[in-house]
């Protein structure tokens, strides 16, 4: 799912952060992050991920609310609120939050996805109390005025122009998501539709904050040079005193059965490199036929995981008809996920040729299945690098926070290598047959205006 970062003082930093979300892998013989966890009396879950490399901590608060929890007609409100969370409280007015964090040598940011909104700071260990106090303060004491809303609305609209309107591939991807989800709110962009961003009011935003921002709807994750025993009294002092909120259940209208394949085409003069994508509605860890989720991860690795995957090897190396090609699947969503194939034609090839080649690989895996060796190697690659994931300070906090805010448990995250290792060839084949139905697909085509199908 799309994830937006609130503050991007310089576009370069954003790029760095976006590629930072690489898919990695984990070792089957061990749990992944070995976190400690406890829950405060007011219902706030706390997770501690020890990492003693430097005397530094990453402090994150995740709210179990995102773009998919907005009321119809108010798209973008979760993300807009995230921007406004930096404006002030009675005790720390006028943007003092960021100034204080910076003055204490801290880095901070925030981001919003369909399923969650997260705020984070990285600071020297001895400044942890300060950021906890600030974050706890704005959970309930946010003050914003009309001027804040009017000015920040312009910033959000610029963010939308930068991310979406300036990029034909992003416009198409937004349209393809809308086509993929007829009824589920994943069909709306996290940043919001422009006309709805323009219509959001101060009162609506404050009401959204009041409804969803409460300790019993939040998860505190602290990673770094700290133990649960050290953190617990601080968590109780700053967050434990905040009363529970009357937070509603997340309501997510579900998808009706998809009965017709959908096609979306964007022709734009700015397109020089055409792209094709074909996606299928698929279960996530939480939603739909969940037993297929782990086998589908293995399948995605076999079909499109890298330079030796079936799709890349066939379209790019052997047939030489595509410059790039692959598959992706991520079951982390709280709601229904998608299994997607993509490719971009070489100038001497065509969109028809790569579409046929992708469909041939899909048909082949449905009809003939996969080999034991492919499954073994894919599983080994997937599970081999929980070690890599453990290495960085913030990686564990992000992975755990996102999982918990999307309906998983700490035990789910820690058992991931085991569950991948347990996937069988038969399960992979069953998952492929369950997901790859022509009528549940969305095909999107990015084409140069005036030149409808050629690869050039």
């Amino acid at each position: 799912m799309a994830q937006l970062k609130r503050r991007n003082p310089c576009g370069w930093i954003l790029l760095a952060a976006v590629v930072g979300w690489a898919v990695a892998t984990a070792s089957a013989d061990a749990a992944v992050f070995n976190p400690e966890t406890f829950t405060l009396a007011n219902g706030m879950q706390v997770v501690v991920v020890p990492n003693k490399r430097v005397p530094v901590v990453t402090h994150m608060v995740w709210y179990k609310v995102g773009g998919a929890d907005e009321e119809p007609g108010k798209s973008g409100i979760a993300h807009f609120l995230e921007h406004l969370m930096f404006k002030g409280t009675p005790s720390h007015p006028d943007g003092e939050f960021s100034k204080l964090v910076a003055r204490n040598g801290g880095r901070e940011n925030a981001f919003t996805s369909h399923d969650y909104t997260a705020y984070h700071q990285t600071v020297a260990k001895d400044r942890l109390a300060l950021v906890m106090e600030l974050e706890a303060d704005r959970m309930t004491n946010l003050i914003i005025n009309q001027e804040n809303v009017d000015t920040e609305r312009q910033v959000v609209l610029e963010e939308r122009r930068m991310r979406t309107d300036n990029e034909p591939s992003s416009i198409l991807s937004e349209q393809a998501s809308a086509a993929a989800y007829l009824n589920h709110p994943y069909g709306r962009p996290v940043i919001g539709w422009e006309h709805e961003i323009r219509a959001l009011t101060l009162e609506q935003i404050l009401a959204f904050h009041k409804r969803w921002y409460a300790p019993n709807n939040a998860i505190l994750v602290v990673a770094g040079d700290i133990t649960a025993a050290e953190l617990k009294p601080m968590a109780e002092k700053y967050y434990g005193v905040i009363p529970r909120g009357d937070v509603p259940e997340r309501f997510r209208p579900s998808e009706p059965p998809q009965r017709a394949a959908r096609e979306v085409t964007l022709r734009d003069a700015r397109v020089r490199q055409p792209m094709l994508s074909r996606s299928f509605l698929a279960p996530s860890y939480i939603d739909g036929e969940t037993p297929h989720a782990y086998p589908l991860e293995v399948l995605a690795e076999i079909l499109g995981g890298g330079a030796t995957s079936r799709i890349y090897r066939s379209l790019v190396v052997e047939q030489g008809i595509a410059t790039s090609a692959g598959a992706r699947y991520s079951p982390d969503n709280f709601g229904p996920s998608r299994f997607a194939f993509y490719a971009s034609p070489r100038p001497d090839s065509s969109m028809e040729a790569i579409e046929a080649a992708i469909q041939a690989e899909i048909d082949r895996v449905v009809a003939e299945g996969v080999s034991d060796e492919e499954v073994t190697r894919a599983k080994q690659r997937l599970t081999a690098s929980a070690v890599f994931a453990r290495d960085s300070l913030g990686g564990g906090a992000r992975t755990l926070g996102a999982a918990l805010a999307s309906g998983q448990t700490v035990a789910d995250v820690e058992a991931w290598p085991e569950r991948i290792a347990a996937v069988s060839r038969v399960q992979v084949e069953a998952a492929a047959r369950a997901v790859f139905h022509p009528e549940t697909s969305v095909t999107s085509r990015l084409l140069r205006a005036g030149n409808p199908t050629s690869g050039q």
Binding site: R7, C10, R53, P55, A124, E158, Q273, V387, D391
Partner: protein, 451 residues
Amino acid sequence: MRFAIPASHRRIFALTVGLLLAAISLPGPAAAVDIQRVVSSAGIEAWLVEDHTNPLIALRIAFRGGSAMDPAGKEGLADMASSLLDEGAGDYDSQGFQELLEDLSIRLGFDASRDAFFGSVQTLSENREEAFRLLRLALSDPHFDAEAVNRIRGQLLARLRQSEEDPDTIANRTLTRTLFPDHPYGRPSRGTPDSIAAITADDLKSFVKARFGRNNLIVGAVGDIAPQELGRLVDAAFAKLPAKGSLWTLAEVTPKATGATIVEQKNVPQSSIVFAQPGLKRDHPDFYKLFVLNHMLGAGGFTSRLYSEVREKRGLVYSVGTGLIAYSHTGLIWGSAGTQNARVAETLAVVREEWARMAAGTVTAAELADAKAYLTGSYALGFSSSDRIADTLVGLQLDNLGIDYIDKRNGYIEAVTLDDVNRLAKTLLKPEQLTVVVVGKPAGVESSKPR
């Protein structure tokens, strides 16, 4: 499961890589980073931070000399080589090499900046022997088979084609070309469709032979490996490389910042704006003063003057900022912003106003204190993963900063006084030299007449 792992060696724009390496990723705290100097039997030096917490090794290497040395007409050679070293080497064809990497979970990659060529390896320590062997093969015996060369050429051309429509890329290229009309720094580091089409397998082979000399090599390693073992593996990977790479000369250059405004028309809703003026090289005695000054002007995330005036108060942009680019032979202060076409003129006016206000020597004691508090306090945060630390070990050596730099660095920041920054601001910052490129359909902004 998607693990969130900060990827440290991605390629963005050659310019930004330079910026990040040279100025922003100044490294972490003394307590955590005990750097050992390892010298192998063959006499190759490597800096090591030993850390046995996880069974992992991160290796970063560099050869001095980057894309600025691509021959005229073959621009993009270093970049293309970086994409091809792991596409078949030694006894392995492309698929065989990739399979081995994937099966052993070895992450091997290469990238080029203007002034250096980088390699990186991340491996489980149990696979270190193979990881260093594959690195050796990639550096000393890459194949450049026709299939792989054509495939990668196709990918590079596809990327170039699409980037020809990308306002940010167009803006960066135009400004670079404008600032360095007669110097290799002004040429496109990723090449042009013509230059990429002109590169042959022989060019790539000559590149490898000429550039990967042990005298140009810099090595940094972090993780689960003892000094002696690192020495042995470093020899296994590099001892057979030529002792010396080819010599080259690159002239010192002063950016041609005339204060011109260049508008390139592009039908997009948001204009991309980039701007630059001369800065300082990394070894300039005033570099730390500029580092602090730049933080207050535009690099200081959510607290800089540009952020506050352009975004926070007026809502003109989502992103605005400045960075220092410190190449081996020149320096720049470089900034960017993006705003809807209707508000480009206003955005430029505010940027110029802030540039002039800074140039008037208006930094206050409190502003400087805040900047120094951030820059010294956040120093530790950079050392958050093995590959980032390995990157720093190489950066320190590339910049000749000394193995004790990490202990000294905050002292250099602390030593900057209010007089220093205001004096430097008055002498260095030149609003009239600020050279601007806008790509979009900006209302009421036109290219200035050539001077």
